[in-house]
């Protein structure tokens, strides 16, 4: 915005000589302004997601900050018709996995189709019970924290960030079928984790 006014303060006779540069500046300025416009509304979401990844305020801030820097540098490669949110979340995530805590986190092996998780889940406790215990926010938060990180990540992108499966697939760099099964597994795991609390409260 500001930059595009750059010509206004310059006397006419100088405009010719600097116009080329100024035009380039204006293009990059409008890109930057564009970036700011796209990124600013996502700040709370990116921070929230960064916190879920890092579990730490200082690290979450650093992560978002680095994400902005990287994203802005790579903004030229961003195609206007693609999903900006998906694009920047992918950068956030890749940045996390090159950070120290990210590398540590990625050492944990995650089995895509954990038979244990598949078998034990049965959605059969009576649906009425489900409705009651889901009102317990504290219990749900604890359960979310206990989820395996890859499951939680997919679920948060879906439920909190409302990202479509195909974009989650791009962010997490996994096939869309895996996205679908991770989200489904995450939900079953949540129900299971909520179960004991139900027992206690009854």
């Amino acid at each position: 915005m500001f930059r595009s006014e750059a010509l206004l303060g310059v006397p006419i006779q100088f405009r010719g000589s600097i116009q080329r540069e100024t035009l380039d500046n204006m293009v990059s300025a409008s890109r930057s302004a564009n970036f700011e416009q796209l990124a600013l509304p996502l700040l709370p979401s990116l921070y929230n997601h960064a916190f879920w990844l890092t579990r730490n305020h200082a690290e979450a801030e650093d992560l978002v900050q680095e994400t902005f820097s990287k994203a802005l540098r790579a903004f030229d490669s961003f195609q206007a018709d693609t999903n900006f949110k998906g694009w920047i979340f992918r950068i956030l995530r890749n940045t996390f996995f090159t950070s120290r805590s990210g590398i540590a986190a990625s050492r944990t092996v995650f089995l895509e189709d954990h038979p244990h998780a598949l078998d034990t889940t049965d959605t059969s406790p009576t649906p009425e019970d489900n409705l009651i215990r889901l009102d317990n926010q504290a219990a749900l938060q604890t359960a979310l924290e206990q989820l395996e990180p890859p499951l939680r990540e997919a679920l948060l992108l879906c439920d909190v960030e409302e990202v479509k499966y195909k974009d989650i697939a791009l962010i997490l760099d996994i096939p869309i079928g895996t996205v679908m099964s991770r989200i489904s597994r995450a939900r079953r795991a949540l129900r299971q984790l909520l179960q004991p609390q139900l027992g206690e409260s009854q």
């Binding site: 930059r3 750059a6 303060g9 310059v10 006397p11 100088f14 540069e21 100024t22 380039d24 500046n25 990059s28 300025a29 890109r31 930057s32 302004a33 970036f35 700011e36 990124a39 600013l40 700040l43 709370p44 921070y47 929230n48 879920w52 305020h57 979450a60 801030e61 978002v64 900050q65 902005f68 820097s69 802005l72 540098r73 903004f75 889940t121 959605t123 649906p127 009425e128 489900n130 409705l131 889901l134 009102d135 926010q137 749900l140 979310l144 679920l155 948060l156 879906c158 439920d159 909190v160 409302e162 479509k164 499966y165 679908m180 989200i183 489904s184 939900r187 079953r188 949540l190 129900r191």
Partner: protein, 256 residues
């Protein structure tokens, strides 16, 4: 698969409430639900879980300071990084400057933030080098540069005539910037091919420059004050030349 929909399996149910099934399938399930209370309840329950997850998952809001810093970053970042692409102006950063930058950045990051203003000054100076950036005003003419700041800064300053500048010192352009949140004029000079950043701020209300170190990470930082202005110059040029430039700028402020 029209009529024969079984009870929903968990994966399908999950994708259904996310609206991720193909249209035909989505409709077929809807139909099934009208006739199957058990599945309808499961869908209701799953929808509730989804809503509750959305609430529970959105719990870490950035503290106000963090929000302010990150917003400021988005605001400020364009001047440094966005223009990395303009290779056209490579002349702005010689290879030597890039090497100095790389080495000093490493060293500089390890330093404790003893003086954040010095860090900010150096940071901004490095940004002018590293991005091969073109300033907002590109002109060697003080009559172009000075008027550009009108209405952009809450203060005014004088620029010396090109002939009054020390030998081999050239005004390259100018930018508007912020130091410690205060608007500042950033003047870009070269002295013997060394890049020099000169920051002009209001003396009162602007950042205090009294405690600035004379050097930082191999860069010389020289400052001076006039009646109304604080002037700080940052460069890797030899200190005597930098002093000469600062002195000329100070002199230009006093009415002759």
């Amino acid at each position: 698969m029209t009529q024969a929909i079984e009870h929903l399996n968990p994966d399908t149910l999950s994708a259904f409430i996310d609206g991720e099934l193909p249209d035909g399938e989505q409709e077929a399930i809807q139909q099934h639900l009208t006739g199957c209370p058990a599945c309808a309840l499961s869908v209701l329950s799953a929808t509730k879980l989804k809503a509750a997850t959305a609430r529970a998952g959105r719990r870490f809001a950035p503290p106000p300071e963090t929000l302010a810093r990150l917003t400021a970053q988005l605001h400020r970042e364009p001047r440094g990084n966005a223009r990395i692409h303009s290779i056209r102006r490579v002349a702005w950063a010689s290879l030597a400057a890039v090497m100095v930058l790389a080495v000093s950045l490493i060293g500089w990051r390890q330093l404790h933030e003893t003086n954040t203003l010095a860090a900010e000054l150096l940071d901004q100076h490095l940004a002018t080098l590293s991005s091969a950036a073109t300033p907002q005003v590109i002109s060697t003419d003080r009559h172009t540069v000075k008027p550009w700041f009108q209405g952009r800064l809450p203060f005014s300053f004088n620029l010396p005539d090109a002939k009054a500048l020390p030998p081999d010192t050239t005004l390259k352009g100018a930018d508007l910037t912020y130091l410690k949140g205060q608007p500042a004029a950033l003047l870009l000079f070269t002295i013997h091919k060394h890049e020099v950043s000169v920051f002009l701020t209001q003396r009162f209300g602007g950042p205090s420059i009294t405690a600035l170190p004379g050097t930082r990470s191999g860069f010389t930082i020289h400052s001076a004050t006039t009646q109304d202005l604080s002037i700080v110059a940052v460069s890797d040029v030899n200190p005597a030349d930098l002093d000469a430039l600062v002195a000329t700028l100070v002199q230009a402020q006093s009415p002759s």
